[in-house]
Every structure is written in C-alpha cells, then in structure tokens.
Symmetry: C2
C-alpha cells in the first residue's frame, strides 16, 4: 500500500487559487505579512505530518484581463505578492522535519546567485529546502525585470536546462566532501585542492569560479516542477524529483501520471523515483453534512469576474470582452471553449453562460475539491491515489489558518489509522520525506549526479609550512 505524500500549496500573498475567498469573514489571508502566520502554518503542517509546504510565486502582474491589472489589484489575484523565500528561516526555526518548496524562476536570475540563496536556506533548514523550478510566463515580469519581452516559451526551457548544468556544477561538483578540514594547527579552514571551479562558459550563462558556499546537507535542494507544456514536461522528466499539477478530473490525472512516468523512464530514471502530486482542495468537518454546508458557504464568496480574470492570466487569453450571461455557444472565444472542456466534466450538449462557467471553475477551490468527513475524505484520497497512480497531493490553502488545521485535526489521524500516512518522519531532510530515510542526496540516476566528483585517495591535505603560523 503506497504511502501518501502531502504538501500544502500557498503563495506569499492574499489571493491564490480561490478568487474572492478573502471576503469570507473568517478568512485570514491578509495576515500573510506577519511572521506568525507563517510559523503557525508550518507548525500545523508538521503536526499533520506533511512532507512540506510549497510556495508559488508571481513575478509580474496578472494583466491579461482587460489588458490591465485593475481586476487583479481589485480582487487580489496573485497581487499583492511577497518574496516566497523570506519567511523560510522563521518557519524552519519552529519545525524539525517539514520541507519548504520555494518557487524561483530560471529566466530572471543568475545561477551563481540563485545557487547561493538556496544553499543558504538548505544550511539554515538543515536540508529541508526544495526548489520549484519555473521559467515564468508573464510579460509583466519580463518587462520589469530587465528583458524587453518575455523570451519565447521553448527557449525558456533551453535556458533553464543550461541553468541546471551550472547549479549542478556548483552544488555537486565544486566543493568535495571533506573540503572543509578546519585544521587549526595548520591554519587551513578549507583545502583549496578539494574545491573546484565550475568552469562553466555556455550560451546563456558564465560561471567560471568555485562556489561561494560550503555544501549543504542535501547539496542540490529537492527539485520540483510543474510544467504543463511538452517542453515543460520533458524538463520535469529530466530534472524533477517531484512533479505537481492542478487538474479537476481523475481521468486527466491518471493520464498525466502515466505520461509523466513514461517520460521519466525515457530519461533513464526509475519511473517511481519521481513523485507525482495532484493539486486538490479539501473541505472537511465533523460529518459529511457539515463539510457540505461549509463548502456551500465558501462558494458564496467565490468571485465570478475574479475567477475569469485569473483564468485570463493563467491562460493568457482575455475574457473581459464576453457577456457573462450570454450562452457560450454563441461566443467565439477559444478560451471559454477550453474552460468548457476542462472544468465541466463532459456535458458537451449543455449550454453554458460564462457566469455559470465561472461558478463551475469556482467549485474548484484549487484543483479537484474533496468534501466530506475525515472518513469520506480519506476514502476519496485513497481512491484517487489508487486509480490515478498519484503519489500524493498538494493541498491548496484556500482558507489560511483554517482549512489546513481542520485537515490536520481530522484527516491526518484517519490516514495514519489506515496506514497511509507517516506517524513519525523517517529522516530529517525534505528529500527523505519524499524518497525515504537516508536519501539525503540526489539519486545516482539523476542527471545532477553526473556532476559529482569522486574524492581521490590522493587528495589528502597537503603539508604547508612557513608563513602561516600561530604566533
């Protein structure tokens, strides 16, 4: 029986997957600026034996809808949004096992600097950092972050691939194990003979020198990816140790997992070594009826226009021109047709208005929404895992400091009782959370492992004499 891997899915802002829920009287999303919001969330997740917390990111404004950011600002769609890496050390200080998956784009950073940032976090968390590798899809990000225009989609992945080569050279190949000798008598903190320049001179990046950091416990942070395009999936199959996606239909999830494992195998990697996580939402309560009531109440706060504005940004298709009450069959809008197929679960004969569609999307508080008592939710989670071959779930935090504590209070013990969820953690690092005890470093079949150095027996500390001596 496959164990379940659980992550929570947030962003460092007010609005994420369920647009409009900030208006719920007990919604605390606007507390995202407060450290205690983060430390309390982290404690809850560790108590609930989650693998980790994912923090998504948005580097530009969601300005597709109507060609401006008004709807995004008005409805808190991905804005305001803080830097997702900054609260990690505070959360790490109050937990011991929980991992932190931080989203950073390869399109707007230099690998030499990004590698240091993530290694620093891996040191401070003692090996609990993950990197959600993204290439960024927003024009707004590009035009504010030093590019004239967003780089074309497939080239972004070519750049990302070279980016990974550089960071592997720094993380895996620069400082050998044992390079830090701390030999006080000989005045050698680190042995230069065991520290190697990256020697990278590529098409997009240059990093000739040695890494600035000591190796952290994981060396390469645990790698996550969520690309949905062909090149995104190929990139994930090569580099990712966990892949996540947001889908609302189990049949689509099953297809994505099967296709994903096939792509992983084509890369010469063990197909089960990559964990596939489905983005879902959970509404639970003391009974099915209580959970259903809660869900109905939440849905009252989902914003229709906001939901379409968010889809506009994610799909880069402007829905602002459509009449919300004009039935879809009369609207020549490919995006609406796409939504129709994706969210309405196969009822092609029915006529929909955009408003009805927005409500339908809204029923997904984030991915497929599971509603019910702990036992009902556990049944559904087990069934989803078993029918789709998913390894676990990325659970959207649509009501911060409320829906995850509810999950942890009710569903965690139920899953533990069924033997589906860890009672205690196996290891101390994020990689061990997803891959098992003692797997602190990249597996040997991972492309990053190619950049490792064997430490030769001859590389012993050279004797040095003369100038450096304790007076």
């Amino acid at each position: 029986m496959k164990q379940m891997h659980l992550f929570a899915f947030k962003n460092a802002g007010v609005g994420h997957t369920a647009v409009g829920l900030w208006r719920h009287p007990s919604n605390r999303a606007s507390e995202y600026k407060d450290i205690r919001y983060w430390t309390q969330t982290a404690r809850t997740l560790e108590e609930g034996r989650f693998d980790g917390l994912f923090i998504a990111d948005f580097l530009g404004l969601a300005d597709t809808y109507g060609g401006n950011a008004d709807a995004a600002l008005r409805e808190a769609i991905h804005v305001p949004v803080n830097d997702p890496a900054m609260a990690v050390s505070a959360m790490a200080a109050v937990t011991e096992h929980l991992g932190f998956g931080i989203t950073v784009s390869t399109t707007f950073e230099q690998p030499y600097g990004l590698a240091r940032k993530l290694t620093t976090l891996d040191h401070l968390t003692k090996g609990r950092v993950g990197w959600n590798i993204v290439t960024s899809y927003q024009e707004s990000a590009a035009r504010n972050l030093g590019l004239e225009h967003l780089i074309e989609h497939d080239e972004r992945y070519v750049i990302a691939d070279e980016f990974m080569d550089v960071v592997y050279k720094l993380w895996e190949g620069s400082w050998e194990d044992g390079a830090v000798v701390m030999d006080r008598a000989r005045n050698v903190f680190a042995d230069p003979a065991r520290i190697h320049p990256a020697n990278h001179r590529g098409k997009y990046f240059s990093a000739p020198d040695a890494f600035l950091c000591e190796p952290s416990i994981q060396r390469t942070p645990t790698l996550f990816q969520a690309g949905a395009s062909a090149s995104g999936k190929a990139f994930g199959a090569k580099h990712a140790e966990a892949v996540f996606f947001i889908e609302t239909r189990p049949d689509a999830m099953r297809k994505l997992v099967a296709e994903g494992r096939e792509l992983v195998a084509q890369q010469g990697r063990a197909p089960q070594s990559v964990k596939f996580l489905g983005g879902i939402s959970v509404v639970t309560g003391s009974s099915d009826a209580e959970a259903e009531d809660k869900f109905a109440e939440y849905l009252r706060f989902v914003s229709e226009e906001g939901t379409l504005a968010r889809q506009s940004s994610l799909m880069q298709i402007d829905f602002s021109g459509v009449d919300l009450d004009q039935p879809v069959k009369y609207i020549e809008n490919q995006g609406i047709r796409y939504i129709l197929e994706r969210f309405t679960k196969g009822d092609p004969g029915r006529t929909w208005t955009p408003r009805q569609l927005a409500r339908e999307i809204g029923k997904s508080l984030g991915g497929l929404t599971l509603v019910g008592s702990a036992s009902t939710v556990a049944d559904k989670l087990e069934e989803l895992m078993d029918t789709t071959d998913l390894d676990g779930f990325n659970i959207c935090d649509y009501m911060p400091l409320e829906c995850l504590p509810e999950f942890v209070k009710r569903v965690t013990p139920e899953l533990q009782r069924r033997g589906r969820l860890r009672v205690e953690y196996d290891g101390t690092t994020l990689r061990e959370n997803i891959a098992g005890a003692n797997r602190k470093r990249l597996p040997d079949d991972h492309p990053g492992a190619r950049f490792r150095r064997e430490t030769p027996q001859s590389a012993i500390l050279p004797e040095r004499e003369g100038l450096i001596s304790v007076r």
Copy 2:
C-alpha cells in the same frame, strides 16, 4: 549629550574582519550555518539595546592575492559566505526592536525584484529592515553573475543612482496609503485608482508597472552606505540615512565625519540627520588587565599571510609577491606603502617588514580596537564620539557568540548608567532606532520623499456595480 547608536557588524560566513581568529579554540564562527547562531546573536543585541545588526556580503571570491582564491579558501577570507538576507525572518521572530541591515548590490540585481525582497522583509520584521547599498568591487562577482567584466567604478554609481529612482518609485510612489481598502461588500481588496505604475524607462532599467507589494511600515527600508571613494561618498550623502566606515585613527574618523556632513548639507539635507558610524572592535573583561590579556590571546591567532591576502582583495592589489621579512623601504609596492600610512599611526621614520605590518593590521580586529574594562571602554567610546562627531559605532563580531555577549553584559549597562545608551527602545522600526520615535518613514528632505504621492481627497473608492457580487 549625544546618544550612542550601536550596530554589530558581521558577514554570513566564517571569516570577516579578523583573519585567522576562526582558529581560536572557543571561536564559533563556523556555526554560521545554524539558525540558532543567528537567533542567539539577535537576542543578545536586542538585550544590549543595539540599533541593529549589519550583515556584509561578498558576491565573489577574494582572488587578488596570488591571482587565485587559494588563500581565501584556505583561511576562510570572505568565503564560505551565505546569502545575508535568509536568516532575517528567523531573527525577527525572536526580537521586537532590533533592526537588520542587509547588504545588496545594485550591480547584479533588478530594482523591481530587489524592491520586493526588501519590502517582504520589512513586512515580516514589521519595519525593521535596512539596506546597505553597495555596487560591488569584485571581478569574480561580475564574471559569475552575468557580466563580462566588472563595470567601471564611477559608472557603477551612475547605475546605482538610477536604481534608487526606480525603487523609490515603487516604494514611495506606487501604492498610496489607503490603497488597500479590503471592502468585502464591494469586493475590492485594493483600489486600482490608488495604485500607480512606476512608469520607469531609463538608461539602465525599465520598470513600467505597479509594484507587486503592499507598502510596508517603513516603505523605503532604512538606507545605509559605506562608500569610500569620491563617487561613493557623494552617493551616500544623497541617499544614505546612516554611513559607516572602518578606520583605525580617530583623526581620520573626524575628517571623514566632517567631510560627510558637508556633503550631506550640499544635498540640501540636514547634516545631523545622517548618522555616521565608525567600525570598531571591542575587547572587554572584568578589568583592564583581563581585557588586555584576552586581546593578547586573540592576537596570537591573527594570521599574517591571511591578513595581507584580505587586504589584497579589499585594495585590489596583490601582496603575494613580497617577502614578508624584507623591510618595506626596499619594496616598491604602493599597497604596502598605503598600509604603512593607514595602519601605523604615523611613525614614518620606522622601517617595517610586511610581516610586522600584517601584525599591525591584525591588531585591528576590525577598525580601531578598544581594549579594557567596561568603564575604560565606555570612556573611550564617549571620547571617540565627542572628538570625532561620530553618532555611534559598528562593532565587529570577531569572536561570534562571545565578544558581543561580553559587550552587552559589561558595556551596555555602563553606557546606560552614563545616559549614553537607550534603556528602552523609542519605537518599533529600524528608522526610529536611528532617527527617533515616530520617524517610521523617510524624512521630507530625503530625495526618496520626492516620489511620494499626496493622496487627494477626491481619491475615494469609486462605486462599482454589476458583475462583482457575493452570490
């Protein structure tokens, strides 16, 4: 009687100002990778009523000495070095008043991204973040971070000046006070009419869009600068709210402060509104004799070659070719001559060997080193302030978790007794620590204040009807 402003000065690595001291048996510098090292340091400083903690940074390897990084790696000279921003939230979680001055370069970041990082930290710390603005002097940083070669010195400051325009537009001018209305009934989180695009299109940077973050308590983080060149000083006089430097001679400090205040006045700013902080080291104990003994013991661990290698990097002059025991008057080396003038306190007639010089520099554990009992140190601090017009000190943490706790235990109460150091903090933000209670935002005569918007009375929330409604 002027109150004293106190900062501690560290970097996020093993070796900083006093090269070789990592070898002292009770030196704990190598614990920099551990969160508790940082939280304990922060607690100590707040207990000691420090204004804040400065964290220096090095983005490249110190590879001037001998033309390679061997000495730097061997002696832990500025390497390993972690990202200085990453431990801030953990430190903020265990303190309430202490500020955090983070070093970030304007040469390798985009202002739109950097502004978000610092605003995030300002939110999480509730207004306790400072930015030490640097332009970076290392070729190694340039060649690993996307530049072919380091940009020429004066142009770096031209770039930095435009950089500041962009971040002021984002911090001061983009989101008006009150833009976040959180009107649940009308479904308006933030009012787009009160959020303005930066509209920046300059020579070096482009940032057309609105800021991604809500304004933080300070809006612009408290600005620090330490430039020593003419263009660096001019930049500091324009932008900095506190300037710090490292000097070993009081007469040189006095000259720097006088010149600094004159430059500030030339910018149309109140000369006393900028705080001048001298970098110093303090060795204290229960008596003068105990402190002197400790100092002598510390000096045993200062590395001569390492000290010259560090100076090589700071001055960008390779000292590796000199014979350490050949008297200086026979060496044609301008760097050695410079050191001779800077560190030997005026004894031009004497003949020095480079080894003797290195020892002389080493006696500065970081800046001018004050040695003695609490009362002796307090005397010297008061005298330094009064004779140099300094506003306070940036105290080097040459023995982490030891020298600062000693200072706090002994010197803090002595300074408080003399009315020179706060007993309680006046406010809750870093800016209030340096400028006084209720001064949470930039002063009106600061160039960043130009970018503020008056919120006109007419800018009330526009009525909206129709699409957005709670179902």
